[in-house]
């Protein structure tokens, strides 16, 4: 028996397949600059978009997720964008340090996570709310095609399963 605890976060209140994905505008961070973009703009430009929520960029959870997605080359198979509860400077450093081929929305107050029903208060750590790990496939009409949301803490997606479900093999 492992002597560590995996915490059950309980069910999330996220949009499911067929629901409309909540639109939002936040600074979209590249390794060079940040500017306001909305999800609907990105979908209009790039078509179907995979939206990946992670905890703050300093955490191993965020790093493990993006390492995995970079290694699997999701950026070559789909338009992938992240959302995290870090500042634009933090996100920028994270992208730079790791040379990730992705862009990430900075949502320091975690309002977007709340809109998606996947906010997590990090065991009551004062003033900090961040997203649970979660992945949404958003279609061209901003409809959620498929969704995965972590229910344990920590939790990671089953990447093979998502690739199959999202057609990213």
């Amino acid at each position: 028996m492992p002597d560590f605890e995996v915490v059950d976060l309980g069910p999330a209140d996220n949009p499911e397949a067929g629901d409309e994905a909540p639109d939002f505008t936040r600074p979209l961070v590249t390794d060079e600059y940040w500017e306001n973009r909305s999800l609907s703009e990105l979908v209009a430009e790039h078509g179907r978009t995979i939206v990946v929520f992670t905890p703050m960029t300093g955490s191993f959870l965020a790093k493990y997720v993006w390492d995995e997605l970079a290694e699997r080359g999701w950026d070559e198979k789909a338009h992938v964008v992240g959302v995290t509860a870090s500042t634009p400077y933090g996100v920028k450093r994270f992208l730079e340090d790791n040379e990730y081929p992705f862009t990430v929305f900075a949502d320091p107050a975690a309002d977007v996570a709340r809109d998606y029903g996947i906010d997590h208060d990090l065991d009551g750590m004062a003033g900090i709310t961040e997203p649970r790990p979660a992945v949404f496939a958003v279609g061209e009409d901003l409809t959620v095609e498929d969704a995965w949301v972590g229910t344990d803490w920590p939790d990671f997606p089953d990447y093979d399963d998502l690739e199959e479900r999202f057609g990213l093999e």
């Binding site: 590249t30 060079e32 600059y33 500017e35 306001n36 209009a44 992208l95």
Partner: protein, 103 residues
């Protein structure tokens, strides 16, 4: 994320892109003027470290901010004093520019 990911024809992007640095008074001066003339613009906040501002170097040939790219007139401009003068003559009272002055 690539530098080519921002199509210049993007549907509803404002025609003016404003490269700026957080807390930079020269940038604020330009921002104030853009607002005063009611111009729609998209702010891009860049890196404090001069040597890391590759995007500005690529766009304008310098690593200083502010930089304004105005698709109304096809002008890319650095140096706040120059930008202020440009904005005033193009969009201000008694604008002398004939192309793109009215949007």
């Amino acid at each position: 994320m690539s530098s080519t990911s921002a199509p210049t024809t993007a549907s509803d992007d404002p025609p003016i892109t404003f490269y700026r640095l957080q807390g930079c008074p020269y940038c604020e001066r330009v921002a104030r003027l853009l607002n005063e003339f009611d111009l729609e613009y998209q702010s891009r906040f860049v890196e404090p470290m001069h040597s890391d501002r590759n995007v500005v170097k690529r766009v304008a040939g310098v690593r200083t901010v502010p930089v304004v790219v105005d698709e109304n007139t096809g002008i890319t401009m650095a140096e706040s004093a120059n930008i202020v003068e440009y904005l005033e003559s193009t969009y201000g009272d008694g604008a002398t520019a004939t192309d793109g002055g009215e949007v």
